[in-house]
């Protein structure tokens, strides 16, 4: 009986794959919107060489700074982990930084929400897909307030209400300084599944306290169905926090 069920499932799966391939169709939700569910690798530049261990924003794309913006953006290191790298003692990375490192991200979707779960610290974004506006009068957060809407087959996620925090993993590429966004930071993500294994991921940074205009990175996400078997591994930073309170122990 088990064998028969397995064979039937295999047949259905194979037919589905063939059907997808033959019709050039991509997975969709019952309401017809694209289904982005799956295990995805962290965002990487859609073209050009890798820029580091994790994805960092491309300096060459930056627009001119506003007066005082550069000083707000580049934060010199002091040698004190509490200032230089709060993540060293398990403070949050925030968005987008937590999703840019070399860890899988699982997308779980229904018609109301897209849930992005990063393996790194199990960070979670719950993104409503009904086009609602941002919440008013909420406290700024590390991960911001994301709201989503469909523009055809493109999912547009607008995130605002951030507190000033690390922008990306530039920290790991420069020993003298790191980069921070301001509390006016605002991001617009555009996700469009271009084939079964790829999401074109355009990421717009809008930080009007720092830059004279927004700029957009062209990234992509690649599907890794083989990671489904084990799923995301647990990652609890406090399990072996070597720097509790910023005081690193030997």
């Amino acid at each position: 009986m088990k064998l028969r069920i397995a064979a039937a499932l295999l047949t259905v799966t194979t037919l589905s794959i063939l059907s997808l391939s033959a019709q050039g169709q991509l997975p969709r939700m019952p309401d017809g919107n694209p289904d982005l569910s799956g295990m995805w690798d962290n965002p990487k530049p859609a073209s050009g060489p890798p820029r580091g261990p994790a994805t960092v924003f491309d300096k060459s794309l930056f627009p001119p700074f506003k007066p005082g913006g550069e000083a707000l953006f580049y934060e010199p290191r002091t040698g004190d982990a509490r200032h230089d790298e709060p993540r060293a003692f398990c403070m949050p990375s925030g968005f987008p930084s937590a999703f840019l490192g070399p860890y899988p991200i699982q997308f779980v979707q229904n018609q109301k929400y897209l849930v992005m779960v990063g393996e790194f610290m199990r960070v979670t974004r719950i993104i409503p897909l009904d086009g609602r506006p941002h919440q008013a009068d909420i406290e700024p957060t590390f991960y911001g307030d994301p709201v989503g809407r469909w523009e055809g087959d493109t999912l547009v996620i607008d995130t605002a209400n951030f507190k000033r925090w690390s922008l990306d993993d530039y920290y790991y590429t420069d020993s003298k300084e790191y980069r921070m966004h301001s509390d006016a930071f605002h991001t617009i993500e555009r996700l469009r599944r271009t084939d079964m294994n790829t999401i074109a991921y355009d990421f717009t940074v809008d930080d009007p306290k720092i830059f004279t205009r927004p700029w957009t990175e062209k990234w992509q996400l690649k599907l890794h169905p083989e990671w489904e078997k084990t799923g995301l591994y647990e990652m609890v930073c406090e399990e072996n926090n070597r720097c509790p309170g910023g005081n690193c122990r030997k």
């Binding site: 890798p50 820029r51 580091g52 261990p53 994790a54 290191r77 040698g79 982990a81 230089d84 790298e85 993540r87 060293a88 398990c90 490192g101 070399p102 860890y103 393996e119 790194f120 993993d169 920290y171 790991y172 590429t173 420069d174 020993s175 990671w227 084990t230 995301l232 591994y233 647990e234 990652m235 609890v236 930073c237 399990e239 072996n240 926090n241 070597r242 720097c243 690193c248 030997k250």
Partner: protein, 131 residues
């Protein structure tokens, strides 16, 4: 099968070249100008997040022994590469390559581990070409 996984892991990982930690401050904690290569006996393995730590008794030239601590990638990252909790055990004699801690302690990053059978695995976060 296990041997095949190990061989695949070894082949894939040796290809990765340069160390980095995407959580802790690798650049701040470890001095990339001070590479180390040491041989000794594993005394303890902490298979914990956010980074594994393993400790190795290394014999000094004067006959004394120093217990060195090495940090590597998180357990999940290593498991996805086929490196499991049982891959390294107390008593194993290994060679470790990494970078010494800036604070002068007997800690270092554990980038590559070579086992007695010659298998060399990459135990740090997946690498990028150092620029």
């Amino acid at each position: 099968m296990k041997a095949r996984i190990a061989a695949c892991a070894a082949a894939a990982l040796v290809a990765a070249t340069v160390f980095v930690s995407a959580h802790h401050s690798a650049v701040a904690e470890y001095d990339l100008e001070k590479p180390v290569k040491m041989s000794g006996t594993v005394t303890k393995v902490e298979w914990t997040n956010p980074h594994i730590w393993f400790y190795v008794d290394v014999k000094n030239s004067d006959g004394t022994v120093t217990n060195w601590g090495f940090s590597g990638a998180p357990p999940g990252v290593l498991q996805r590469r086929g490196i499991m909790k049982t891959s390294m055990k107390p008593g194993d004699v290994i060679v470790v390559e990494g970078f010494r801690a800036r604070d002068g302690s007997s800690n270092a990053s554990g980038n590559n581990v070579t086992f007695p059978d010659g298998r060399r695995v990459f135990t740090a976060m997946e690498g990028f070409q150092q620029r």
